[in-house]
Symmetry: C2
Subunit: 423 residues, 2 copies
């Protein structure tokens, strides 16, 4: 009976998984080098955790159900609510706290290229610091991760500031600037006439035109002051912070940073800087996204804990690595295939143990196949060496070793081999 895996889910076979683990390890190591520490949380959470903050749209896109104990639960669609639950449920966390996590997350939405119903999401967050230094570190960590994956020059980071946008919108005459964020978030997807029609519900014609001109193009950080010339003082003060953040961020990475006032991010909890990385071809979905969310903690403990973070999904990274011929992995360990054809069935196991203990890989022939078949198999699973132990070799404490790349073959003293394995 053929049972298929579920639509929108993926199997990862060894060749694929080896590369995937390698790039996740690089993300981890980069975060650790910045002082971030790993956390983990349940894959299943109470539905209330999501009702709390994200509005209904996300809740509708979840794998949610009522468990056998009658609890309304959901497979987590993102990491932030669980992370915030963990942060606010202990009082002994030293601030600033730097955390990362690598959960699987699930969304019930239509699968497309680079978008699955299950994916691995790398998250990094800093809590307890609200400064250009903190914002720059988070963007710098995101960029350094991409750089360490070999993607330098392949992406740009588009930055905005939700608070700055609020001030601009207020200055343009909006009474509820936050209500315009979901509209601005759809700017690039909407027809311009429709977009303006929607703006006119909140802004007058002149203000709408002004806003559209600001959203139209990416802006060089050095042009921002000129472009926003004439806006209220609080706007210009906030621009100063953004400039400071850019100056700091540019020391972490050589990648291009743009101001893009149309970037506001879909989730409602952002309060300050927001950013997205895109591949330079512009063909893929955002590679990563994040921002500052200083008020989310209030929903848990009536206390604002400054927070800034970002998330990277594995699917777009995979597309990007493949496109740049970086979808490969070379293990530094040597692979030995060990065959015992002697009359002593246990004679090879000490050699296996020694190779494994040396940090290399030893694979044992367990099927007693013909030597021809064994060699073909050892080559097919990419072994570097074949070791043969026969009675003749054993009687003189020797083994035969064949280099499967050069086909060179030699007899070697077993102790000599073991003692020099890593030299």
């Amino acid at each position: 009976m053929k049972i298929e895996r579920l639509k929108g889910f993926r199997d990862h076979y060894p060749d694929d998984m080896e590369i995937r683990y390698d790039f996740i390890k690089k993300m981890m190591d980069t975060a650790i080098s910045f002082g971030y520490k790993m956390i983990d949380f349940p894959s299943l959470e109470s539905m209330d955790l999501y009702r709390l903050k994200s509005g209904t749209e996300l809740v509708e896109q979840t794998f949610s159900f009522t468990d056998k104990g009658g609890r309304e639960v959901t497979m987590i669609p993102e990491a932030t609510p669980s992370t915030m639950r963990m942060l606010t449920s202990r009082k002994d966390i030293k601030m600033p706290a730097r955390w990362f996590s690598i959960p699987k997350v699930w969304r019930y939405e239509e699968p497309q290229e680079g978008r699955y119903r299950e994916h691995i999401q790398f998250n990094a967050d800093m809590f307890g610091a609200d400064s250009p230094e903190a914002d720059a570190e988070i963007i710098g960590l995101a960029a350094t991760i991409l750089d360490n994956l070999g993607l330098s020059g392949q992406y740009e980071i588009n930055v905005n500031d939700r608070y700055l946008m609020e001030l601009i919108l207020r200055d343009l005459g909006s009474n509820n600037p936050v209500d315009l964020f979901p509209v601005i978030d759809r700017f690039k997807k909407m027809d311009l006439t429709d977009f303006k029609k929607r703006l006119l519900k909140d802004l007058d014609d002149d203000a709408s035109e002004k806003l559209i001109s600001l959203l139209m193009n990416r802006i060089d950080i050095n042009d921002v002051e000129r472009l926003l010339n004439g806006y209220a003082n609080d706007v210009m003060e906030r621009v100063k912070r953004l400039k400071d953040t850019f100056a700091l961020t540019s020391k972490y990475t050589k990648s291009k940073l743009n101001i893009d006032l149309s970037v506001v991010r879909g989730l409602s909890y952002y309060t300050g800087i927001v950013f997205e990385a895109f591949d330079i071809s512009g063909e893929l979905r955002a590679i990563l996204g994040g921002g500052r969310y200083d008020n989310l903690s209030n929903l848990f403990i009536n206390e604002s804990i400054p927070a800034v973070g970002f998330a990277i999904g594995d699917a777009v990274i995979e597309l990007l690595l493949k496109r740049n011929n970086l979808w490969n992995y070379k293990d530094k360990r040597k692979r030995y295939y060990v065959v015992n054809i002697s009359s002593s069935p246990e004679a090879h196991i000490e050699i296996l143990n020694k190779i494994r203990g040396s940090g290399n890989i030893a694979i044992s022939e367990v099927n007693k196949r013909r030597m021809q078949t064994i060699i073909k198999y050892a080559e097919s699973i990419k072994c570097d060496f074949l070791i043969i132990i026969g009675d003749r070799e054993l009687s003189s404490k020797k083994m035969t070793i064949k280099n499967l790349r050069t086909q060179e073959q030699a007899e070697m003293n077993i102790d000599d081999f073991i003692n020099n394995i890593n030299s």
Copy 2:
């Protein structure tokens, strides 16, 4: 609003997670050294995959539901069905195939010490080999993992063979020996009188007594033949294979191996060797368990693919490591805390980058706190060194470095520091 995590689920904070990741990494590295390669599969599978093989008991203990598309799905309660689905859905897999996986798995059952509704399960399986060598390698891998975790001498492995048991039960007069496995599986949990009463439904009094005497005690491998003297020839032949397996396994580990004829394992798909590891105090649940299941593939593709494997849960390992004072982790990387008090806001970032690039950890002060507070914080997050960059230092390309363990403090040329960081 306080939102609790769900009952039976765990949060892992950084100190805990660091140790957990370290022991999982050791398991991975051990499996890799044996030639096993990592796979991954969805956390959600069609319910049909479990109806296929495990009987109803497991299905009742799952987090299962109907998804928004009307599919009956379940959060995976174990790895084997998904692994088998992957193996049998491709025809190009080289045999023997050696795979491992580290999924989270979920069971809806009452939480107790060492048993949660969500846990991380390490799985390793070999496909395409049916021999004492293959069986010994799998038990040897399980033992080597425990040994590499520092648990040598803290556990014993109890081994049985389902096929041998079938032959014994047949020899004792049972017509449906397989039906007795669930009964034998409960031997240690049942009252002896009740147990015998149940046996008498299938066996006569003499046979029941004989069977009970066999189940009563762990048996040394050298006593097995004597104990089973008088049983049918096929029994004795199968004992020979078990003896071969023990001889091979004893070369992988110094840990004690016992024959325990009461070990049959709960899952119905085992066909050959079965084994469990227990801590020597006997207080904890099984540390790991596994066995041979050569017929499971038949349910997918009408072809028998020999298979042998085991699984280790993270919860019992945690209890065991804690009990043996092994619940700790020492990162070899050095931790530097970097403070910029100069008038050049970006002056410290190159130093951060260099430390991070060298494979060590650099944490940046992003809050511009008082030096006293900073030092206390840097110590609390276990930094080794504090680096201070001020205008005076910068003017001569220097920095101040303080060893937070010895309190020694010195000025150092920045380039000298960077060039010698790993020496």
